[in-house]
């Protein structure tokens, strides 16, 4: 019992705001509080959620990866591009993910060996990857129908949508990596004290590269999921997700400094953003007000969160 209480207390403040927002929306619209809508929300949250998992790993190393959104778009394009060339869909998926791992590796190498701040290095990479996606598609989307998409995006297993299962799987993967492996320890070390890692005989450079590559891998999976949702190669589908992922990660209690935080909180951050968007649509707020409202809610959540954190420290 006490265990539950402390666990509840350990949840980031954003989780409480989440409850509040759900209550408000439920009161505002009869269509809101339904099982099917929550399923809907979970499905909608999945791609961003997975990207945010990747971003969390990067933020734990005191970095940000602005190329994640571009990587996701790139994967949707690459898979379809290859499939159209006759490569089996499954093999295309593997190749595309390997390519994002490669992109991540390049990112990591520039950041670690070139001493460039991740923000700017990955911004450069974002441009490059975007370009590649556009060149591959000549700018438009490419269509390659397959039943696989629907299997991933629309089927359920034990009453839970397949998307959500995949998301859960990715969560477990990242959680285990961060919590139960040496690599995860090193990720925290990269954010917390790089010197200490080096002195303990761990190569910060190698681990940084590995982290970006790992993030690339996760982004690759997010790309596959996104492909299944939009059923076509979309060169710009995920632009801006990297920033939303940063916001979600920070809302979830991961800090831009010192390797503090983890992937659990990130879930709440992503849910907040998704739930607000969904709710505003369901209660039918005019779209020209939506951006201002979503932005204000995210801003408020971040401020409240910061104030609570500062208070609790004092």
């Amino acid at each position: 019992m006490n265990g539950i209480k402390t666990r509840l207390k350990a949840l980031p403040p954003v989780s409480w705001m989440l409850v509040l927002i759900i209550v408000i929306f439920s009161l505002a619209s009869p269509n809101y509080f339904s099982l099917s809508n929550f399923r809907n929300i979970l499905i909608q949250a999945t791609p961003l959620m997975i990207v945010a998992f990747a971003q969390t790993c990067i933020i734990l190393t005191q970095g940000t990866d602005l190329s994640l959104g571009a990587q996701v778009s790139f994967v949707t394009v690459m898979i379809v591009y290859l499939a159209k060339k006759g490569v089996p869909l499954f093999a295309s998926m593997i190749i595309a993910v390997l390519l994002t791992v490669l992109i991540g590796t390049v990112n990591g190498t520039i950041v670690a060996k070139g001493n460039i701040l991740p923000f700017i290095a990955t911004f450069g990479m974002q441009n490059i990857v975007n370009s590649i996606s556009l060149l591959l598609t000549s700018g438009s989307s490419i269509y390659y129908p397959s039943y696989t998409y629907r299997f991933v995006a629309e089927s359920t297993f034990l009453f839970v949508p397949m998307m959500v299962w995949i998301c859960a799987l990715m969560f477990i993967l990242v959680w285990i990596v961060l919590r139960k492996t040496k690599f995860g320890t090193n990720i925290r070390g990269l954010g917390g004290n790089r010197e200490a890692l080096a002195l303990a005989g761990i190569s910060p450079v190698k681990n940084l590269i590995k982290t970006y590559a790992f993030a690339g891998f996760i982004a690759g999976i997010a790309g596959i999921i996104t492909l299944c949702r939009v059923e076509s190669g979309q060169p710009t589908v995920a632009s801006g997700w990297e920033f939303q992922a940063v916001a979600a990660t920070l809302l979830g209690g991961t800090s831009l400094r010192e390797g503090k935080g983890g992937v659990t909180g990130t879930i709440f951050g992503v849910l907040l953003i998704t739930i607000v968007k969904n709710g505003l649509n369901i209660i039918g707020i005019r779209s020209i007000y939506q951006n201002a409202i979503i932005g204000s809610i995210v801003l408020t959540a971040i401020i409240v969160d910061a104030i609570i954190r500062i208070r609790s420290k004092e």
Partner: protein, 502 residues
């Protein structure tokens, strides 16, 4: 004492623009404590890091048990059992104590995952052997106090079951009690035949643990001698390269009226409880106390860093509300903080810019500035305080600790405040620099400035102060004039014993 296990021959290490080590020889025997002393920037840490493989030497070689060591990061050293407690913080803030101790040597379960349980129980045992069972093994080290963190660092080093262990100023963040348990541990290690290199500026520690001493000066080895073969005085002379007859300089002078007074001062964190002190012009007042007794917080309250909960501060008899350092500085108060890297200096900026950072508006009241003038002022500071540097354009991060502290002092001298609070002004700096700082404080007092000095080195407090306040757990528990009490008496007051006085 055992046979020689580690030898360094003719080590030279050049950093851009300077020679940190110049053909230094060094050797360590099994079961001995070999103390390394020298002024700031003498090259002690550098030597330690060359031995560990952190730095690649430009000349010379290091042998461990007759075998030449490779320089490839710390890997080789760790494999051979050569480890260190570094001068700088080497923990990872949001990993648990246990994870930090076993960093890169994590226990794994059969599946290859980290075995947190096993690491925690091992860590617990280790800390117990250091009398630190009160440290929470599962907590992120970020939540520990500085002293506790230092003990974790030590535990981490010991966990390697080392053959050679290098301590680089391990006690500078520790209280006496913790230092004692470290010394006990060192004696244990000695008995087990482990070689220990011990770097420290605290000379009173040497006889307690040391066997031999090597003195470095300006990157050169001056001598290696047995601990009983020289006096403190001789040692200091070797370190600074000139005769120093007297460490503490204090010319008596008249006190010319009250400069600063606090009444019943308390802060929100509860670390300062109803403190009332008085500080006169021309006087040096020392505050003695244990680490954590709230002295720094008191200084910060007066200086306006933290908000005051209750109480008042008077400057020259007039009440002032220390809302922020801006306000304090306006009232002529200066603070030399205890952590120069964090609060004292912009390490990435040139010496010149640091030196004028407080007096910017005073030198250039008309908004526009003139860089020539800044450089001229800084050049004067460098000459006057004997700051060792190639130019005033040099970034402060390339200076040694003592020289950095002098830049901090320059910054206040240029502003010329009437009240100066020194918080641990000589922490981690060498005797030569220390003495120069004492001289400076004495001069300032003679000029009629009021000086409040917080220090954890009791001899320093006693040697320099005209009056001493003793602080214990946030309260001023005692006050005495110069010569009224012995070190033992003050020490027991600091511990909260024999509270009375007035």
């Amino acid at each position: 004492m055992g046979k020689t296990i580690l030898t360094a021959v003719g080590i030279t290490k050049v950093f851009p623009g300077m020679k940190a080590l110049d053909k230094v020889d060094f050797d360590l025997r099994a079961g001995e404590v070999h103390i390394l002393v020298g002024e700031n920037g003498a090259g002690k840490s550098t030597l330690a890091k060359v031995i560990l493989g952190v730095y690649k030497q430009d000349e010379g070689e290091v042998f461990f048990e007759g075998e030449k060591m490779e320089v490839s990061g710390t890997k080789d050293a760790i494999a051979k059992g050569i480890v260190a407690v570094y001068q700088e913080f080497t923990l990872i803030p949001y990993l648990s104590v246990a994870q930090n101790i076993f960093l890169n040597r994590e226990f794994r379960t059969k599946l290859g995952f980290i075995d947190h349980k096993k690491m925690e129980s091992e860590a617990e045992a280790l800390l117990k052997s250091l009398n630190c069972e009160y440290i929470n093994i599962k907590a992120p080290v970020k939540q520990l106090s500085v002293a506790e963190q230092q003990m974790v660092e030590i535990a981490k080093a010991l966990s390697y079951k080392p053959r050679v262990i290098i301590f680089d100023e391990p006690t500078s963040a520790l209280s006496d009690r913790e230092a004692e348990s470290l010394f006990a541990q060192i004696h244990n290690l000695k008995k087990k035949g482990i070689g220990i290199v011990y770097v420290s500026h605290r000379m009173e520690e040497f006889p307690k643990i040391g066997d031999r001493i090597t003195v470095l000066r300006d990157g050169k080895k001056i001598a290696t001698i047995g601990i009983n073969d020289c006096t403190d005085h001789e040692l200091i002379t070797m370190m600074v390269g000139r005769d120093v007859s007297q460490v503490y300089v204090r010319t008596q002078n008249e006190h010319k009226g009250e400069a600063l007074r606090t009444e019943d001062l308390s802060d929100y964190s509860g670390k300062v409880k109803g403190v009332s002190i008085v500080l006169n012009r021309g006087e040096i007042v020392g505050i003695a106390g244990l680490v954590g007794s709230g002295r720094t917080e008191l200084a910060q309250l007066i200086y306006g860093i933290n908000p005051i909960k209750t109480g008042k501060v008077y400057v020259n008899g007039r009440e002032m509300m220390p809302k922020s350092p801006v306000n304090a500085v306006k009232h002529g108060i200066g603070l030399v903080s205890e952590d120069r890297k964090k609060y004292g200096l912009a390490l990435g900026e040139a010496i010149a810019f640091n030196a004028i950072s407080v007096s910017l508006k005073k030198i250039f009241p008309k908004f526009f500035m003139n860089k020539r003038k800044i450089y001229d002022i800084a050049k004067q500071n460098v000459d006057q305080l004997r700051i060792v540097t190639t130019s005033v354009h040099k970034q402060c991060k390339f200076l040694s600790g003592g020289n950095q502290q002098k830049v901090v002092l320059a910054k206040w001298l240029n502003f010329n405040p009437q009240i100066i609070i020194f918080d641990e002004p000589t922490r981690g700096i060498d005797v030569g620099a220390k003495m120069e700082i004492y001289k400076l404080m004495d001069r300032l007092a003679a000029e009629g400035k009021a000086i409040l000095m917080i220090s954890s080195e009791l001899p320093e407090v006693i040697g320099m102060s005209d009056r001493i306040y003793v602080m214990h757990e946030g309260r001023m528990v005692d006050e005495c004039k110069r010569g009224e009490f012995t070190a033992e008496q003050i020490g027991s007051r600091m511990l909260g014993l024999g509270v009375g006085g007035r």
